[in-house]
Symmetry: C2
Subunit: 182 residues, 2 copies
DNA sequence: AACAGTAGCGGAGACTATCTCCACTTAGTA
DNA sequence: TACTAAGTGGAGATAGTCTCCGCTACTGTT
């Protein structure tokens, strides 16, 4: 990629992050372009869809997921504790942006989605948690990582839609955790 | 209201129901107007916002909720059976329209919403189920009707976002049910 | 340093959806 | 039948998405 194109790309991502934070994820993309000082065509060439742009913005989010994941997986203790910790971490991670829970949970089950691969870390970590609980025979038989993600995703989506802070759904996550365990 | 205005109103509601079913909740309102054979102005005078129109459409939905509710509440059997039946009925009822789970679950916690009062029947029925389980001391202490609604709403929302049929989330509802019970 | 070739740019404008305005039509009434 | 105000419809204002293409200027070559 040419140097000036790279500069524009970076600038668009940087500006978009601010615009989306200030105006919500529905903000006009033309506004993003104008604020970044580029034409609409330039924005759309770099990011054909809104999702592609979100994808780029989320790169820093992926780093954060990685970090949190390692922390939780390092935990050695009761299965229920591990599970609750993971569910909470998961809910928090997907709720960092308004609209995140719904978007990420939908992307999780749809490999076509441009942000699907960003979810890989989350899916992988959930799988690891499931494996550990399975090894200790603490989990229901009919449960897999996908279902865990769906359940937490659902709870987080509800909180997000109601403009509630994620912290407030802890009791729901405990219910989910107890339902997941034997 | 003048007779012709009433006719137009009824026709718009009838047509909108079909259009929304076929094209999703985001269908163009101008399309609804055109299909109903009225001008956009007529539609917007009767229903200033999209939500107002949805509200009108949902009247028949309320009737259906009432009916289903009575059926489930008439069930006499094991607490877990009752709960699972209700969770399934609930999920199905809020999933009748694409986008319904998210909209209804959000409205459930927001009394300002134009469709909030439509949820009264659902909330009431859930409360009745909770009361019965509570009487039999089958429910966790920290659980109330609101939380039950949030959990099922979340699961249904995930299914809806992923374009899965509601029937497919039965296992998730069982997990939720087991988590809710003592 | 000058040049050529092309990657990349910008923004006008096509397209679509929402919603308003007001000249015109028609139901209800006397 | 004639009056009047409730009701209508659809053109057009406004706003967002996305494309097209003539022009600009970056980069590698000489």
């Amino acid at each position: 990629m040419r140097a000036d194109a790279q500069r524009n790309r970076d600038r668009i991502v940087e500006v978009a992050r601010e615009v989306f934070r200030d105006h919500g994820y529905d903000a006009s993309l033309d506004l993003v372009a104008k604020t970044a000082g580029v034409g609409a065509g330039t924005l759309y060439r770099h990011f054909p869809t809104r999702e592609n742009l979100l994808d780029a913005i989320m790169q820093s989010w992926v780093d954060r997921v990685q970090e949190t994941t390692e922390k939780v997986l390092a935990f050695e203790g009761e299965p229920r504790d591990l599970l609750v910790r993971w569910l909470e971490a998961y809910a928090e991670l997907i709720s960092l942006h308004k609209g995140g829970p719904a978007k990420l949970t939908a992307a999780m089950g749809n490999p076509q989605s441009p942000i699907a691969h960003k979810c890989g870390v989350l899916a992988g970590a959930t799988q690891q948690v499931v494996d550990r609980l399975r090894a200790e025979d603490a989990l229901r038989e009919d449960v897999d990582a996908v279902r865990v993600c769906q359940l937490v995703g659902g709870v987080a989506t509800v909180a997000d839609n109601a403009d509630q802070p994620v912290a407030q759904v802890r009791p729901l996550l405990e219910v989910v955790a107890d339902g997941l365990l034997r």
